[in-house]
């Protein structure tokens, strides 16, 4: 008995370093070091990562986050954990205000010229001097519904409160997106910091809760494709993909308006691989790469070269892929400061923990 245990332990002790030994050294394959990338889930064509690794000899460690808030908490905990990150507008503003980003050296990112001027213009809302961020994707938030399961006209956020669709509604599990739906439904600004308005929105979300099947983020897509729900709040970029997988699915921007967002690449303040991070951003801005990403993730690209080269005319001129922002009221999230953050978080907590 004793001997067997000792021999077990010894083998284990011997095997482990051996395994690590052969798995560890990638120096020959990746002479130019590492790059820690932190991006949204399902937000890149994975082949693009491989191409980047091959072309630049950089080992990419690629992690994904679900919401801006998760991303922020991670960076706040350890700013150097990632080199290059892709948050949304209001979160970039928050990162800038908390001095967590590094100024970009655009000389090292020549391909940023491919990005349409209007997107940099729009970015000034959260990055006033265009010093920190390079746009990656943009879009709106709307309702995705299944035509075979919904027979009402879907043109308003109100439909998410229709008891007919009990258990058929998917809401976003993220503070700002969920609150936005309720705020806009009541005709308030999606950046409201008025406690009364937030209270109304909160109460609305609590009333809605029994109808909601689940609060999810990335799962909305698969659940809608699988026909597990009738209505879901989703980002516009998923509309083309979901319609391709399940032709019954239609994306609408409600008449009350929506949030127009931009997700942009930024480099963290304490990044240890700044050069590699710049190469990454530059690579992402390359026309062919942006096109490849667009075709895979189908989120609206701000890259003019990529857009020019889209072969499918239907998609190129699609109102879904490239919506006309004048056709409905739009607003963008702003970082609202600590107090308002707390207000939103407490409200959301109340919704999530409410009985139903």
């Amino acid at each position: 008995m004793k001997r067997r245990i000792v021999s077990c332990l010894l083998t284990a002790a011997m095997v482990i370093p051996m395994l690590t030994g052969c798995g560890g050294s990638d120096l020959s394959k990746y002479p130019n070091g590492k790059l820690y990338v932190y991006n949204w889930g399902e937000y890149i064509d994975e082949e693009v990562i491989d191409e980047f690794e091959e072309e630049y000899g950089i080992d990419v460690v690629y992690d994904m986050f679900e919401t801006n808030e998760i991303m922020y908490a991670k960076l706040a905990q350890d700013n150097s954990a990632y080199d290059v990150v892709c948050p949304s507008d209001y979160m970039i503003q928050k990162l800038i205000e908390h001095d967590m980003l590094k100024e970009l050296n655009f000389a090292n990112i020549p391909n940023s010229a491919n990005i349409g001027e209007q997107y940099f213009e729009q970015s000034k809302d959260f990055d006033p001097e265009n010093k920190y961020s390079v746009p990656y994707c943009w879009g709106t938030v709307g309702i995705l519904y299944n035509q075979t399961l919904v027979d009402d006209v879907v043109d308003s956020w109100d439909i998410l409160w229709n008891p007919k669709y009990n258990g058929q509604i998917l809401m976003q599990d993220s503070v700002r997106d969920a609150m936005m739906v309720a705020l806009l439904k009541n005709g308030y600004s999606l950046n409201s910091t008025n406690p009364d308005e937030i209270a109304v929105a909160t109460a609305d979300l609590i009333t809605q809760k029994p109808l909601v099947q689940a609060y999810v983020v990335d799962q909305v897509r698969d659940k809608m494709i699988g026909g597990e729900a009738a209505l879901g709040v989703i980002y516009s970029g998923e509309a083309i993909y979901t319609a391709r997988e399940n032709p019954d699915l239609v994306y609408v921007v409600p008449k009350e308006g929506t949030n127009v967002w931009i997700d942009s690449w930024v480099i963290t303040k304490e990044s240890k691989n700044v050069e590699n991070a710049e190469k990454w951003i530059d690579f992402m801005c390359r026309g062919d790469i942006a096109l490849k990403n667009f075709e895979y993730i189908t989120y609206s690209t701000p890259n003019d070269v990529a857009k020019e080269n889209i072969e499918d005319e239907d998609i190129k001129n699609s109102k879904v892929a490239f919506p006309d922002l004048d056709s409905f009221p739009t607003e963008s999230y702003k970082y609202l400061g600590y107090e308002a953050d707390r207000l939103y978080n407490d409200a959301w907590m109340e919704v999530k923990s409410a009985d139903y």
Binding site: A73, D346, D355
Partner: protein, 274 residues
């Protein structure tokens, strides 16, 4: 006892662990208390702990306690008869039957939970079968029931094992003696078997109650994020809201309940010994 030449040599042998325990158990706990009792600007405050009384938070705490108690109870009611049956089988040779009941423990915890997601979902396996048989479908995913089910499924082995061990250790002669002295089955059970298995029951309760009280993965997966437990709130404070002070404050609240549980356990343990 002459195992050690002196107390000092024993102390020397224990010192690596003592150092380890101080660095990795005591100091981190102190940090939780430090964060929990200070505000972002560093001043002393009870606000973080008092936050538990806010509507959203207190509801989650109450729900966690109720669900954890139910799960523990269900686990106990399932495990005790099982433990008695197994113990009565006198499994000297083929103890693998016992292992069969704790085998799922070696499956990954998240895989075990995921199993129930797959089974219970609206278009999951169970409903597909029910539909096929033209029976009404089951809507329990994303409800408290699903979470209790997930907890019971996950933590059942933690209850079975200690109860079985305790029951198995009971000397048969004691039971026979009781019988010889004229005790009936019920009486033997209440006065001999149950008290003697008490330590096993208590450790089973702790091993189920605490993880059930503090889980966040089960409620996320089987509750569709619709059901918030205190564990979810604490997890969010750290991973999403980046409020370490509040997160730590709520952790302190959680620890109070754990200590309460411990005290109750010790009291009833002493009662059992008497």
């Amino acid at each position: 006892m002459k195992l050690f030449k002196s107390k000092r040599s024993a102390g020397l042998m224990a010192s690596p662990y003592i150092a380890w325990a101080i660095i990795f158990i005591v100091v981190p706990l102190c940090m939780v208390f430090y964060y929990g009792l200070t505000s972002a600007d560093g001043g002393f405050t009870f606000d973080n702990i008092a936050t538990i009384m806010k509507p959203g938070y207190i509801k989650a705490l109450k729900r966690s306690i109720v669900l954890a108690i139910i799960s523990t109870l269900v686990c106990f009611l399932l495990s005790y008869p099982l433990g008695m049956i197994l113990a009565s089988m006198k499994l000297k040779k083929n103890a693998y039957i016992v292992t069969l009941f704790i085998l799922p423990m070696w499956m990954n915890f998240l895989l075990r939970t995921l199993t129930w997601m797959t089974l219970l979902e609206g278009k999951g396996v169970i409903n597909t079968i029910l539909e096929f048989l033209h029976l009404p479908t089951l809507n329990i995913i994303n409800t408290n029931g699903a979470i209790v089910l997930g907890m019971v499924y996950n933590f059942l082995p933690f209850m079975i094992l200690p109860i079985y061990n305790a029951l198995n250790r009971i000397d048969e002669n004691v039971i026979n003696a009781a019988r010889d002295l004229g005790a009936g089955t019920v009486q033997t059970f209440l006065r001999i078997t149950l008290p003697l298995s008490m330590p096993g029951i208590l450790s089973g309760i702790t091993m189920v109650f605490i993880p059930a009280l503090t889980t966040f993965a089960i409620s996320t997966m089987l509750g569709g994020s619709k059901i918030l437990l205190i564990g979810n709130i604490i997890e969010q404070e750290f991973t999403q809201l980046y409020d370490w002070h509040l997160g730590s404050g709520l952790s302190i609240v959680l620890m109070i309940f754990i200590i309460l549980n411990m005290i109750i356990e010790n009291l009833s343990d002493n009662g059992g010994n008497n």
